[in-house]
């Protein structure tokens, strides 16, 4: 059984771990190449762009990784990401109607309290995660199948409740979330960083975290040792749903609108980032800081290719090569490790 790679007492071990992390070297290589080949790559604006993109795909991948660590998969994250934002807006609008306010105004623009819409969006994401968890644990349907169902169904429901039309945000909190920068870091990235730190501390420093990793390592053994595996798996799906909803908020804050067709195929990006970040598809192995590093490396790499003017299909090829290289490297490193 291979359980969490993160040791309990980490202090001095972090430096050698970082030095030995191929992802970090890849990021350093990208930054060096960018610095040498482009005068704009390390400009404040461009770094902010890279980090904003990293925040969206990174949040998706982080929540996805938590589920993956239990040995399960959540294919519905991109659908949850869009649906929960739509749900947040529509629920707020309905609440407004109940209170006698009209919060969808001319041009299908949302003019209600954005904080409430965001809160309801995050709650919707968590509830959808709960649904996924209950489906795969309570109904004993394989998570691949159950989340495939919710992935498709949520897209359909999104079309039904919006009639396919976009909803626009007016200026305000969403614009701020999409554009504000503190000390060179976009707000979205700060939120991603906070979420990643919180999840890392939870997974590496709490009983819940160790149990979650143990389930991914050997679920039967975990169950026999008295762990309520079902509850922890459901919690993992709730975390995934919440992260997807938060990613949805940041995603739509950048576009200042939401519509059902957005973010199709983003679940594949999340899988890519999680795998490059070293999360085992079999569960039980991996760390959230590596996923964070993977998201930043992924975004910086794609950004550099875009700055070089490389066509998107070559960018896709580069992602594929990175994935293959990661898988091979992980195998080699795992073989080299003493058992």
């Amino acid at each position: 059984m291979s359980i969490a790679t993160t040791p309990r007492h980490r202090g001095p071990a972090i430096i050698p771990q970082l030095i030995g992390n191929p992802l970090l070297w890849l990021l350093v290589l990208i930054l060096a190449l960018g610095l040498m080949t482009s005068p704009v790559f390390l400009s404040g604006n461009n770094i902010a762009n890279v980090l904003r993109n990293a925040a969206v795909v990174g949040l998706l991948a982080t929540g996805f990784s938590v589920v993956l660590l239990t040995g399960r998969i959540d294919l519905s994250i991109a659908s949850v990401m869009v649906f929960s934002v739509i749900a947040g807006v529509l629920l707020t609008t309905e609440a407004g109607r109940y209170l006698g306010y009209r919060w969808i105004v001319r041009g299908n623009t949302f003019a209600g309290p954005e904080a409430l819409a965001i809160g309801l969006c995050l709650a919707s994401g968590a509830l959808l995660g709960l649904l996924n968890g209950l489906g795969s644990v309570g109904l004993k349907i394989t998570s691949f199948i159950f989340t495939l169902i919710t992935m498709t169904a949520l897209r359909g429901v999104s079309y039904l409740i919006t009639n396919g039309a976009p909803v626009y945000y007016s200026e305000g909190l969403m614009r701020w979330l999409g554009e504000a920068v503190f000390f060179g870091l976009p707000v979205g990235f700060i939120l991603f960083l906070a979420m990643a730190v919180l999840l890392h501390l939870t997974l590496s420093g709490t009983v819940f975290g160790r149990r979650l990793m143990a389930i991914g390592g050997n679920e039967k053994a975990a169950r026999y040792s008295g762990i309520n595996t079902g509850l922890i798996v459901i919690a993992a799906f709730v975390i995934s749903g919440f992260c997807a909803a938060l990613a949805g908020v940041l995603f739509t804050a950048r576009l200042m609108s939401v519509e059902p067709a957005l973010a199709q195929g983003y679940e594949l990006i999340a899988i890519t980032i999680a795998v490059i970040g070293g999360i085992s598809l079999a569960g039980g192995t991996g760390s959230i800081p590596n996923v964070l590093l993977s998201a930043v490396t992924f975004s910086a790499g794609l950004n550099l290719l875009a700055i070089w003017g490389i066509a998107t299909w070559y960018q896709n090829l580069a992602i594929g090569i990175a994935l293959i290289a990661t898988v091979i490297l992980t195998r080699v490193l795992n073989k080299a490790k003493p058992s």
Partner: protein, 434 residues
């Protein structure tokens, strides 16, 4: 007639539009437009049918869909106007060249519209960097669009163009635009898939002082430098006019593009405005096949299974029409409309294979919507850059492309519009069909 706030508003707008058109070109007085010029004739017909739709529709089935999908909201704000500098387009105009991407011979219709001479432009001592972002190097219509943009850029040695495919990911298109802003490009031309998400990235580029021009479809930006808009309204209108003229009635199945896209809302809306005034039509199937032939094939197969007497297949694009035709042919149902008539397949987009099927009598008509307009986008953005540098006047915010006449197997005159035959149409795009 149902009197609603929307219908009153619509009537007022349509009356205003009609009043703005000289009476000499009102349809009942119009002469047939030989050779397919007829931009103003089609505009007058658009105004006429919009006014009638605002008054109400006779056909309850059509009216139900028209109201449910809120077509009025889109149609009322879609510009219908004259061409820039009184440009008068005639069939045969335009340049012939080999598409840089498709490697196919292209005759682009509007290369004389908002013209720029070949050779260095603006400040000849400077090199200008233009970004052209669109979706779909896997779609013949879109490759042809990129072909014309790259061709126009190549005519000017001091223009560097970067053509990028955002692969139908709105967020990726936004990221590409943000990267070009960082790289301080001189101008950006985009083909947005959907209107809403592209507004903020366009606004960010405009705020950074970079002129931005959209081609074909619109964005939600209020700041955009120019919009090059095609003849969506005339497309749907002519599909309706043809059907009305043909006398074929009965059950209609619709293969539409993404709900909320300009192409769907304007074409389908205009089609419904015409047939909504006629009894005898029933909307029996309504599918969103998102420009994909395979999805249109599947939806048509489903509809043919469920409905024995399909009379009309309405398609918002050429790919959809080909998918529908494949399904109808495979089911051996070409002549399965009531009274043994052929199912009337109505198409848009003048791909060579669609024209071939019109010639063969399998597709009843096609409303051309040429992708060969990327060059107009490049010239327009160059003029905006020139205006910024004080070298020339800025082009108008709205650059409408000429309304093109429908193509039918035989030459016909329908409500003052003279149709063209496939053999007369030199602007078809995509691979040739034997």
């Amino acid at each position: 007639m149902k009197l609603t706030r929307r219908s009153v508003l619509g009537s007022a707008l349509a009356s205003t539009a009609l009043a703005a058109i000289p009476t000499g070109i009102l349809p009942h007085l119009a002469q047939a437009q030989t050779g397919g010029g007829g931009h103003s004739v089609l505009n007058a017909l658009i105004a006429q049918y919009a006014a009638a739709a605002a008054e109400g529709m006779k056909n309850a089935s059509v009216a139900a869909l028209y109201d449910r999908d809120a077509f009025t909201d889109y149609l009322e704000v879609y510009p219908v106007a004259d061409l820039v500098d009184g440009f008068d387009w005639k069939p045969g105009m335009g340049a012939t060249f080999t598409g840089p991407y498709s490697k196919l011979e292209i005759k682009a219709p509007f290369t004389d519209y908002i013209p720029l001479p070949e050779g260095p432009v603006l400040d000849p001592a400077k090199t200008y960097k233009i970004g052209f972002v669109f979706h779909g190097f896997n779609h013949p219509w879109l490759i042809a669009l990129a072909d014309t943009a790259a061709w126009e850029a190549a005519r000017h040695p001091n223009i560097e163009i970067e053509v990028v495919d955002a692969e139908f990911d709105d967020n990726k298109m936004g990221q590409i635009i943000d990267t070009w802003v960082t790289r301080q490009f001189d101008g950006i031309v985009l083909w947005p898939s959907r209107e809403a998400p592209m507004g903020p990235p366009v606004d960010r580029a405009i705020d950074a002082g970079i002129p931005v021009v959209s081609v074909d479809r619109r964005t939600s930006s209020q700041k955009i430098s120019s919009e090059v808009l095609g003849n969506f309204y005339a497309n749907g209108l002519q599909q309706g006019l043809y059907l009305k003229h043909s006398g074929q009635t009965g059950k209609i199945i619709l293969n539409r593009k993404d709900l909320g896209s300009t192409a769907d809302s304007i074409r389908t809306g205009a089609f419904l405005q015409v047939i909504g005034q006629e009894e005898g039509f029933e909307i029996a199937g309504n599918y969103h096949t998102n420009s994909q032939r395979s999805l249109a094939f599947q939806s048509t197969v489903d509809a043919l299974q469920a409905i024995r007497d399909v009379a009309v297949s309405f398609n918002t694009g050429g790919e959809e029409a080909m998918g529908a035709l494949d399904a109808i042919r495979e089911g051996n149902r070409l002549d399965s409309a009531p009274d043994g008539k052929r199912i009337a397949i109505l198409a848009n987009d003048d791909a060579k294979e669609v024209l071939h099927e019109v010639e063969q009598g399998n597709i009843a008509m096609v409303s051309p919507y040429t992708p060969l307009i990327g060059d107009i986008g490049i010239r327009t953005v160059l003029l905006h850059i020139g205006a910024k540098e004080g070298l020339n006047a800025a082009p108008p915010r709205l650059v409408l492309t000429p309304n093109l006449p429908m193509i039918t197997r035989e030459k016909m005159t329908i409500e003052g519009v003279e149709t063209m035959t496939p053999a007369e149409w030199p602007y078809a795009y995509g691979p040739a069909v034997a």
